[in-house]
């Protein structure tokens, strides 16, 4: 019962990737099992928790719902790709500094979502952040410190004058 495979090419965290995947494989499985990129998490597999959130051409998607073949020709960023050469990106650093991370299992998805929200809306309000993170479940933190971290990034961007 060999499933049909196909070759795909895409950009993952800035690097070209070419590999063969079964047509039934989900992007999450490809990332974790084929590419060893275990930063992206499985927590439901049904698009209900956001733990598997990645960036696809600048927008977030649940990688557990998306077929790997649909990555062909596109640009993916995972939590591993958010780091800058200098270290943690501002959102990652804000999560660390504000104590937003407990067990951390939801955090790769949460951070990807938060980072994209702020990227797309530099004036993001707390209410908008709350709504924007509605699809990302966290069992540990009660979201308060997550929102504090997002607020801090928005504020910092405002005062540096670069945006």
């Amino acid at each position: 019962m060999k499933s049909v495979e196909t070759e795909i090419r895409f950009k993952l965290n800035g690097r070209e990737v070419c590999l063969t995947v079964p047509v039934t494989m989900k992007t999450l499985t490809m990332l974790r099992d084929k590419l060893g990129m275990t930063g992206t998490k499985y927590a439901c597999g049904e698009g209900e928790c956001g733990a598997c959130t990645i960036k696809l051409d600048g927008q977030t998607v649940n990688s557990c719902l998306m077929y790997a073949v649909d990555c062909d020709g596109r640009e993916l960023v995972t939590i591993e790709g958010l780091r800058t050469p200098e270290g943690l990106n501002p959102m990652q650093q804000a999560f660390v500094d504000h104590g937003a991370i407990q067990c951390g299992f939801c955090m790769p998805g949460m951070i990807m979502q938060a980072d994209t929200l702020v990227e797309n809306n530099p004036n993001l309000t707390r209410e908008e952040a709350q709504r924007g993170l509605e699809g990302n479940l966290c069992r540990c933190t009660g979201y308060t410190k997550v929102l504090d971290a997002v607020d801090a990034v928005v504020e910092a961007k405002k005062c540096c004058g670069r945006c």
């Binding site: 019962m1 974790r32 990129m37 275990t38 930063g39 992206t40 998490k41 499985y42 927590a43 439901c44 597999g45 049904e46 209900e48 928790c49 733990a51 995972t78 939590i79 591993e80 958010l82 780091r83 943690l88 990652q92 650093q93 999560f95 660390v96 500094d97 504000h98 104590g99 991370i101 407990q102 067990c103 951390g104 299992f105 939801c106 955090m107 790769p108 951070i111 209410e127 952040a129 709350q130 709504r131 993170l133 509605e134 699809g135 990302n136 479940l137 966290c138 069992r139 540990c140 933190t141 009660g142 979201y143 308060t144 410190k145 997550v146 929102l147």
Partner: protein, 773 residues
């Protein structure tokens, strides 16, 4: 003065109460942390479990031959492979069953090269069942002639608990008001974001290494061993990072011995990991219960007695979960000054999923009852609930009927602080007055409080912890401790305490707490004990190291003993802060002198609590603590939807250690409590879970999280590290009844069967209006 030291004086400062980052946070923020769920070992096989999918049945025959023949399958196990290997609190469970007692009973297990092959193999296993009539509520299970879940447990009786104090009949006679209600707290489950997972591997000496999510590594060995016929000493417990636990990993569940049995059979490492659906079905629950509670008071609002008759839904097997009455009775007897107490609890076997322990440990259910009855009584005697609470609140030095000694008790301060901060009394009156005025949206405010052990709970012979601490030639400190990190933040607390004592940066502290072959004994993360117990252990070990270092320094530097301190990476004169020598240089000198000296110390800390005992009359925790929550809500009386606008929290934390971690624990604890109060509900129909997914089992999401106004009351616990008490369960315990009392304030309606979901609330409001007409 040593040459080369040109640093200006280093002033005294403290890290206690500061905000210290979790050392594990950067790797978690970048996806670098390798959770157990991410682990792959060479040669590793994937184990999968065949669940019964029916609540009660006899297994007539089972045929695994086709599965065994499937290429890529290495082992297929069934009940006969685990026969006689009983485990569990009363040894009523086995890894693989020969009879079905609940939906998720493990009937067979497969180890295969890939998950796909393992799944395919499960499909090839043919099982013929003969369904049996089941029992699905504790009342039904307790009926004479009810079908038996276990033949050797007549009457379906599992654990039983009792505590009586004083003359109940006399107290009832002396009561002017009595409230009598039946509460039916429901089934919920932990929903750890990282699903259950275990990896097992045997070496050729027969020693098992198991990577697990356990939060009690030492008792885990003891509990796992009988499921495998092993000596606990031949089990090495590895604890990689986990995606949450919340009490669910305070026990052994069948997938763990199953992974080990498959590993033994195949000679290869085997990983069992659950899907979310399997997690919902097979992970433990918070017990559903039926609590018949009565509380009395005099006309002036002085409590006279409290009685509770509790039936617990044990589910099909007895884990540590059904021991929750140990805590339920402490709250029944000790939540406010209750002179007369009568507590009974009986756990009844049913064909439902079985209960485990869950943050709050029975106190969530009990406080839902006690805190509402306090509110009801206040109403009956026409007192502001705040005043009623204050009238009955204990103060420092009081002892409860079960002999919990409230050495430092800040209940009054918690009540007053929360009430003042939220303007409780004024709002309560105003909202009650507006209750019957027209308008779809009603506001309400509700006060609730509870008591919980805050210095461990001596339910084992020991509630202690071992700590090994070493300081190397570079003044880097390693703490080897039994305290488990499950996300709650003990690592940050340990680094903070070491930094405080030894004057080194927190970044220079490494913690080893993930390997039972290395780390010494600890009872585990439970009973709000870890900061208290491991904090004390760490502090004592660090102080021993410090004494050794300072005595060596005094000798080498010719300074009088007792005048030196460690600060900012230096040995300094305590009074003026003048640096005398860098700590690392001193350590190297100690190490390489004629009579070499290495800094490595050990400590065993046993709190001064008393064992729980069969009579439950003991000072079982080294500290107790209170929290008060005041919830402000808006109720949509048409849809029944409750929006929580704000929660004011006043909690006796003893002393703040890591402020950031403390806030995080309270916020997270409240989020779990909010889910319990408002939306989470396992819909179990005739033993079958109908909503095993996040779509239908609703956790609190970011928009639903209310703003919190937190007040930390510092009662300075004499036994606690720097005065601290344990803190992390009370937030989960107190929030639901605060909302329930607010709902009453807003609408005049009480919900005895949580969750206060829109349907339940809307129906209650509708029925109350019908009745009022």
């Amino acid at each position: 003065m040593e040459k080369n030291v040109t640093v200006s004086p280093i002033a005294k400062s403290t890290l206690i109460g500061q905000r210290v980052k979790k050392p594990d946070a950067p790797d978690k923020a970048t996806g670098k942390t390798r959770y157990i769920n991410d682990m792959v070992l060479p040669q590793m096989l994937i184990g999968k479990v065949l669940f019964a999918g029916r609540p009660h049945a006899r297994i007539v025959r089972i045929d695994t031959s086709a599965a065994e023949k499937l290429p890529g399958v290495y082992a297929v196990l069934t009940g006969k492979d685990a026969a006689g290997l009983k485990f569990g609190f009363v040894r009523d469970n086995v890894a693989l069953k020969d009879k079905v007692r609940c939906e998720h009973d493990e009937i067979a297990a497969v180890a295969a090269e890939t998950e796909e092959i393992a799944s395919r193999a499960l499909e090839l296993i043919k099982v013929e069942y003969e369904d049996l009539p089941g029992v699905f509520t504790p009342e039904a299970g307790a009926l004479v002639g009810a079908p038996l879940v276990h033949d050797n447990f007549p009457g379906n009786k599992s654990l039983h608990f009792e505590f009586k104090h004083g003359d109940l009949a006399a107290a009832e006679a002396a009561s002017d008001c009595v409230v009598d209600s039946v509460f039916r707290p429901h089934h919920v489950t932990h929903c750890c974001m990282g699903t259950s997972c275990a990896i097992a591997d045997f070496d050729h000496n027969g020693k098992l290494t198991i990577w697990t999510q356990t939060q009690y590594p030492y008792n885990y060995k003891m509990d796992l061993a009988p499921a495998l016929g092993l000596n606990p000493g031949d089990i090495r417990v590895m604890q990689p990072p986990v995606g949450g636990a919340f009490g669910s990993k305070l026990d052994v569940y069948p997938y763990e011995p199953i992974a080990a049995l498959l590993a033994r059979k195949t000679g290869r490492p085997v990983k069992v990991i659950y899907s979310r659906e399997e997690e919902f079905k097979a992970a433990p629950t918070r017990q559903a219960a039926i609590i018949h509670m009565r509380t009395g008071c005099t006309r002036d609002g002085v409590l006279t007695f409290r009685s509770a008759d509790v039936l617990l839904d044990n589910g099909a097997y007895t884990s540590w979960g059904p021991t929750i009455p140990v805590i339920m009775m402490r709250t029944t007897s000790g939540h406010y000054r209750v002179p007369v107490v009568d507590f009974k609890a009986q756990a009844i076997y049913t064909n439902n999923p079985y209960a485990g322990s869950f943050r709050g440990y029975g106190n969530v259910q009990t406080t839902y009852a006690t805190a509402q009855q306090m509110d009801m009584l206040a109403d009956m005697v026409d007192l502001d609930p705040l005043e009623f609470h204050l009238k009955n609140a204990q103060i420092s030095g009081e002892v409860t009927p079960q002999k919990s000694f409230l050495r430092e008790c800040a209940l009054v301060e918690c009540l007053e602080t929360a009430a003042a901060a939220s303007d409780y009394s004024r709002k309560r009156k105003a909202y009650a007055a507006a209750r019957d005025k027209p308008g779809r949206y009603k506001k309400g405010i509700g006060l609730a409080s509870s008591i919980h052990n805050a210095g461990g709970a001596k339910i084992h012979k020991s509630d202690g912890i071992g700590t090994i601490l070493k300081v190397d030639d570079y003044a880097r400190v390693t703490v080897i401790t039994g305290a488990s990190e499950i996300g709650q933040g003990i690592d940050a607390v340990i680094t903070l305490i070491v930094a405080e004592e030894l004057g080194v940066p927190v970044e220079h502290v490494t913690i080893v707490n993930n390997d039972s072959d290395i780390a010494p004994w600890d009872v585990g993360v439970h009973a709000s004990r870890t900061t208290f117990i491991a904090g004390n252990g760490t502090r004592r070990a660090a102080q021993k190291a410090k004494a050794q270092i300072l005595s060596a320094a005094a000798k080498m530097l010719n300074e009088p003993a007792g005048t030196l301190e460690l600060r900012g990476g230096f040995v300094v004169r305590d009074t003026c802060g003048t640096p005398l020598i860098e700590l690392d240089r001193l350590l190297r000198r100690m190490h390489f002198q004629n009579v070499p000296e290495l800094v490595m110390v050990t400590d065993y800390y046993e709190p001064n609590s008393e064992p729980e005992g069969a009579k439950h009359i003991s000072d079982h925790s080294a500290a107790y603590s209170h929290a008060v929550h005041i919830a402000e809500i808006t109720v949509d009386t048409l849809t029944g939807e409750i929006k929580v606008d704000k929660v004011t929290v006043a909690q006796d934390v003893g002393r703040v250690i890591n402020r950031m971690g403390l806030e995080g624990q309270i916020e997270g604890g409240i989020a779990i409590g909010l889910g319990y109060a408002l939306s989470e509900n396992m819909r179990i129909e005739k033993g079958m879970l109908r909503n095993p997914c996040f779509r239908d089992y609703k956790l609190i999401t970011a928009p639903e999280m209310p703003p919190l106004d937190m007040h930390f009351i510092e009662s300075n616990c004499a036994e606690g590290p720097y005065g601290a008490k344990g803190i992390s369960e009370l937030p989960t315990i107190v929030i639901a009844p605060a909302i329930a009392n607010a709902l009453y304030n807003a609408t005049g309606v009480r919900i005895f069967n949580p969750p206060m979901s829109p349907e339940t609330v809307a129906r209650a409001i509708f029925e109350a209006r019908q009745a009022g007409k």
